[in-house]
Symmetry: C2
Subunit: 189 residues, 2 copies
């Protein structure tokens, strides 16, 4: 389909050539369609990038959803470990694209959507903490959720995108252990 080709071409250009090279003409060219067709399906360049973001987020969610299904009924340490593993997998769906989007999203109107996206993580995590309140030593759930979600996101984001490009299984395991110890230690003192 023309639409898919356009979204795919946009994603490819974002990854391989950067945001600045993602002109409508170039996107249409790479997609193998004409600019005219592009504007038949998308109101403008912004909408195309938004579509890429949405597709990427849904791919991430598909990858992660099952991973976190049983978590709600599990003890804190198990749950946290699984969350970190899930977060790493999420970042690995398409690391390069993830990076470009993270960097360029502020420029697109989609900023709100992404904040809602991370807000979802926040609420999900706080809900889990509420259900496990008896295991925890926290007095401010809001603050604790903020600290944990921020920490896990930053740790996995930096690990996948900046540190040693090829995250070996061994270092990866060490990272998961460290993150788990960090967060559970904080939650359960």
């Amino acid at each position: 389909m023309t639409v898919d080709a356009l979204v795919e071409a946009t994603a490819r250009i974002l990854v391989r050539e950067g945001f600045d090279k993602a002109s409508t003409n170039h996107i249409a060219d790479v997609a193998g369609v004409s600019v005219g067709s592009l504007y038949q399906y998308f109101p403008g360049k912004e909408a195309l990038v938004a579509a890429v973001i949405e597709r990427h987020q849904q791919e991430i969610m598909k990858t992660v959803r099952g991973e976190l299904a049983e978590v709600s009924s599990q003890p804190v340490e198990t749950a946290v470990r699984k969350m970190i593993v899930a977060a790493i997998k999420a970042h690995r769906v398409n690391p390069k694209l993830h990076r470009v989007l993270a960097e360029q999203i502020p420029r697109v109107g989609k900023l709100k959507d992404v904040e809602i996206f991370s807000r979802q993580n926040f609420i999900l995590f706080r809900t889990y903490l509420e259900s496990r309140l008896d295991e925890l030593r926290v007095d401010d759930l809001e603050l604790a959720s903020f600290v944990c979600v921020t920490t896990i996101e930053a740790l996995t984001h930096n690990a996948v995108l900046h540190e040693t490009e090829v995250l070996s299984d061994k270092t990866m395991e060490a990272l998961v252990n460290a993150g788990t110890r960090l967060v559970t230690g904080y939650l359960m003192s």
Copy 2:
């Protein structure tokens, strides 16, 4: 001086109107000089943004340097707490500019410089940990430094830039406490 006016104008535009509006003509206009003069002192737009970045980083360093002077001789908990406070102050030097720069730096060639900048933090922190090895329960210094630096940076960055715009003194104190507990707990088990 013309140079200062240009750098200041660039910073103002970045904060008030965003990266896209920072055209050379507009910068010169706001600075009260002509485009010609702009190109007399800067090889191009990129160099101007780079100058803004450099100035901002130096302001941050000036604010933080003293803050972290005695840290190396202090116990882990005190040191970590001071580092977090310093990180928050650093982010508060010019939050709006800090945000724009963090978002737009990838687009400028200055990416390398910023990575070196955070690499400095990393090395500084690892050096401190080395000197306090006896107090710690860590087997991988490299990993522990990565975890701590990433965590502190993300926590303060998100707190200052995203959460509740007006970070009251009370929530701010709670955040510092939480961060300190998080990191020291991890380091000292």
